[in-house]
Each structure stands twice: as C-alpha cells, then as structure tokens.
C-alpha cells in the first residue's frame, strides 16, 4: 500500500514539475474527448434525428378525378407494399372539402357549387431504418400507377439533410482518428521529456534494485493522470453544453436530445485511459532501457 502511495506521489510530482508540457497533453486529450463525446451523443441520437426528419416526409398523391374510391383503395393497398413505405392515409373528396374549409375558412361547395378536390393519399415513409432511404425509387414506383395524377413531396431537401448528416458523422470519425493519434503522440512526448529529466533518478532506482515495472510505474501514472484530467474537463464541458442547449433545441426544433451521462463519462474516462496508457507505455518502452 505504501509502495503504491509512493508511486502515485511520484506520478503526481512528475506531472507538477512539467506543467507546460503536461498542459499541452491535457489539451490534446481534451480535444479528442470533446470530439468523441460529441460523436457519442450524435450516435445516441442518430435514430431519433432520422426519425424526426423522416416524420417530415410527406408524399402527397393526387388521384385522377374519374377514379372511384374503390379503385383508389386498390391502388393504395399496392402503394403500401412499396419498400420504404410505412403507412398511407386516404383523403376522400369529403375529407378534402373539410380540410379546405379548416385551412381557408371557406366552403368550396358554396363558392363553386361542386367539389373539385380529388381523392388523395398521404404516403408516410419508414422512420426507424438507419440506412438512407431512396426517395426517388419510391416516387418512380408511384409514378408508374396510371390512376395517379400528381405527386407532391419534399424528399430532395430531406435526402440532402440526411446526406449532410452522414457526411458529418464520417467527418467527425475521421477527425477523431487523427486527434486520437495526435493525443497518443503528445502524451508520449510529454512522458519522454519527463524521462529525460529524471535520468538520474531512473539510474539510481535501477542501481538500488528497482524492477523495470517499478521504474515505469510513475511515468504510466503521470500519463493516466493527464488522461484523467483531460476526461474530467471534457466531461464537464460536454455536460454543461448539453444542459444549456437541451431547452434551446427543444424550443426551436421540438427535439429532445437523448444522452446518458453515466455512459458518456464512462466512455470518455475509458477512452482517456486507453490513450494515455498507450502514450505513456510507448514512451517508457522506447526511452526506458
């Protein structure tokens, strides 16, 4: 126990004696963890974001005037079989009249004496598929029905948003990989500097019978401490930002961000320990002979 306390205190002293280099390592690990944390939150909300966007998909199909309601029902049952279609809602001529009245406050029957509004159908797209949906293919299939007169949809914009979303995730992942290696390199360099500064201590320890692991331990501890501080700072910032933006996002987008604080902290801590352990082990393996 006292041996462990000694090694821990040596690790803390190492960190304190090289404040500037330690700070650069802490900052680099902080950046890595901020990006990782953002990705974790994004991935936790991926299905919700896609669900949110797809909920806005509304393909409106207008049938030709001469088509009977029975025929429409037959076509709609075929539309339901199209891959990517979640559900359909048929709007009869009477329903369309009511919608017109509620939206424009006018009774179309009184204005023109008959109901010119066609039977239509709202086609809803699947929400929970994690893959990007090919809206064009659904539209093409709908166009193949002779009974359909017109199709209205905002699919292009939503597809584009989905595309940007996927691009964002890919970009963040690439940056994360780069910053991950930079962090390892920075920590490794910090530990290397400590090793150089402690050359005499290392020599003395080896001469008095310290095992290699005993000599290495304070440097590994120093690296892990750097990682721990980096993860504590990044967790605090991320949680603070999430708490701050939660209400803001809900007010403007009616979207509730989902996040698990425990999972977030645990993941960031584990990641920081992995980075700092690899970084410090690399330095001790290379520079502690």
């Amino acid at each position: 126990m006292d041996k462990l306390a000694f090694l821990l205190s040596e690790g803390v002293k190492n960190l304190w004696r090289h404040k500037l280099t330690s700070f650069s390592s802490i900052f680099s690990i902080f950046l890595t963890l901020i990006i990782s944390g953002t990705l974790i939150i994004v991935s936790q909300n991926t299905s919700k974001v896609i669900e949110y966007l797809r909920d806005k998909y509304k393909i409106e199909v207008f049938f030709k005037n001469e088509i009977t309601f029975e025929k429409v029902e037959e076509v709609v049952s075929n539309i339901n079989k199209i891959n990517g279609v979640r559900s359909t809602t048929v709007i009869s001529k009477d329903d369309a009249e009511k919608i017109f009245k509620s939206q424009f406050g006018e009774d179309i029957m009184k204005i023109i004496g008959y109901n010119p509004l066609p039977i239509s159908c709202v086609v809803n797209i699947v929400k929970d598929d994690t893959k990007t949906i090919n809206i064009a293919s659904i539209i093409n299939k709908l166009k193949s029905f002779q009974e359909i007169d017109e199709i209205n949809y905002q699919g292009r914009i939503i597809s584009r948003i989905e595309g940007y979303y996927q691009l964002f995730v890919r970009l963040m992942t690439s940056i994360l990989i780069i910053v991950f290696f930079i962090s390892i390199f920075t920590i490794s360099n910090t530990i290397r500097l400590t090793i150089y500064a402690k050359e005499k201590l290392i020599e003395s320890l080896q001469l008095i019978g310290a095992t290699r692991s005993f000599v290495k331990a304070p440097f590994i501890i120093e690296g892990i401490l750097i990682g721990f501080i980096g993860s504590a700072l990044s967790s605090l910032l991320l949680i603070g930002l999430l708490e701050f933006s939660y209400d803001l996002i809900y007010t403007y987008l009616s979207f509730k961000i989902e996040y698990d604080i425990k999972l977030l902290i645990l993941t960031l801590c584990s990641l920081s320990i992995i980075i700092s352990f690899i970084g410090s082990s690399r330095a001790t393996a290379r520079f502690l002979k």
Binding site: L201, G209, A210, T211
Partner: protein
C-alpha cells in the same frame, strides 16, 4: 559469495577486462587497486551486472550472470550496496528522501522507512540533517549519505567505486574506518581505489588490476 570465472568484457572502442578469475568470501574486506583506466569500474559494473560478461560468468550469492533475467538483476542488486565517487545522490530530493529510496523499492511501510532512515543517518553521523539537500552538504557528508543509502537495505556486500576520489585525506581515512566497522558487522566490502597510500597497511586483501587483468591478489 562473489565468484568471477574467466570473466572478459571488451568495449567497442577498446578497453575492458579479460580472463578475470576471482572470488570473495562473505565477510571479506578487499581493495581493488589500479591506475585510472585499468578496468576497476568495469569489473565492478560486471559484478553488479550493469554489464553482462561476453565471456565467463559472475556468480553473486544465488545469482549467476549466465542467462539471468532483468528482473533477477533487480533482485540481486537489493543484496548489493553501491557507493560511487560522485555520490549519485538526487539533487532535487532531501537527505531523507534520498536514503529512503531503496526502502520504497523493497516495499517497506511508511513507519518502517521513517525509523530505518533515522537510524541510518544517526549511524553515519548525519542525524538531524534529514531535510538538507545534497547541495547543502559537504563532500564527506554526501559520501556518508551515499554509504547510508547503500547500507539501509542491509546488503550482503558493498561495492565502492573510488569512494574517496573527491574527499580530502582525513575524510577519506574516516570513510575507510567506517567501511571497516560495517565489515566487522558481517558485510563484505570491495572498494576500488587508485590511491595505494590510503589503503596500504590496513591488513586487508589487495587485488591489483592493470590493463584489464588481475596482476596480484
């Protein structure tokens, strides 16, 4: 307890030792004498396995340099105390921390460390100077601190490499007397020196080394 069999080691740029045959008993006091560059330090480094022999082997206690692992070398060194001409004290640690270092390595408890360091410093006449840094001590005091650090782990043997090299004649003489006291308590001492006048007439075995070979033992 120390056995050197047909020991040879040559550095890349020349120098070293060759065909060394030597042994030392458990409670023996021996001087290793020879001019600068004769191979004294190399021989000591081979004994504490800082260098591993290219030919022959070193046996120290239960440890044989043949095929020895790094971890075993560390354990072997816990039985060997080392004293150097340039003290090898850590400038950024006070006397207490310097002397306590070997005890941390062995894994002693905090209380035990405090007691043993205090006793050890009293024994070498440095009691009360626990908080002094090496730079605040005289050469003689630093060398005594170095001896205290070597002795605190109760080694079977002390290897001293020119420990009087930086000391005046009076302090050097006192240090040898101190080593003799330690030896009387059962610790073997092998002390390297190039100063024949300092060691002659003390009744200890003298091993003479020249050009990397033992001339007389």
């Amino acid at each position: 307890m120390i056995q050197l069999n047909n020991l040879s080691y040559t550095f890349e740029k020349g120098g070293g030792v060759s065909n060394i045959e030597m042994s030392m008993q458990d409670d023996e006091f021996a001087f290793l004498i020879g001019p600068t560059g004769s191979g004294k330090t190399t021989l000591l480094r081979l004994i504490y396995m800082d260098l591993l022999p290219q030919v022959g082997n070193v046996i120290i206690g239960e440890y044989d340099s043949d095929g020895i692992k790094q971890k075993q070398i560390a354990f072997m060194r816990r039985k060997v105390g080392m004293v150097f001409q340039d003290y090898h004290l850590l400038e950024d640690r006070n006397l207490f921390e310097n002397i306590a270092l070997p005890l941390h390595v062995i894994g002693c408890s905090k209380d035990e460390i405090v007691d043993r360091v205090k006793d050890s410093l009293d024994e070498v006449g440095l009691g009360g100077k626990e908080s002094h840094y090496p730079g605040e001590l005289s050469g003689g005091e630093q060398q005594r601190a170095c001896v205290a650090r070597a002795m605190i782990k109760e080694p079977d043997v002390i290897l001293a490499d020119e420990p009087t090299g930086n000391l005046d004649p009076v302090t050097s003489f006192e240090l040898i007397k101190f080593f003799e006291e330690i030896n009387r308590e059962g610790t073997a001492i092998l002390m390297a020196s190039h100063n024949y006048n300092l060691i002659k007439g003390r009744g200890h075995r003298i091993i003479e080394i020249r050009n990397g070979s033992i001339r007389k033992s």
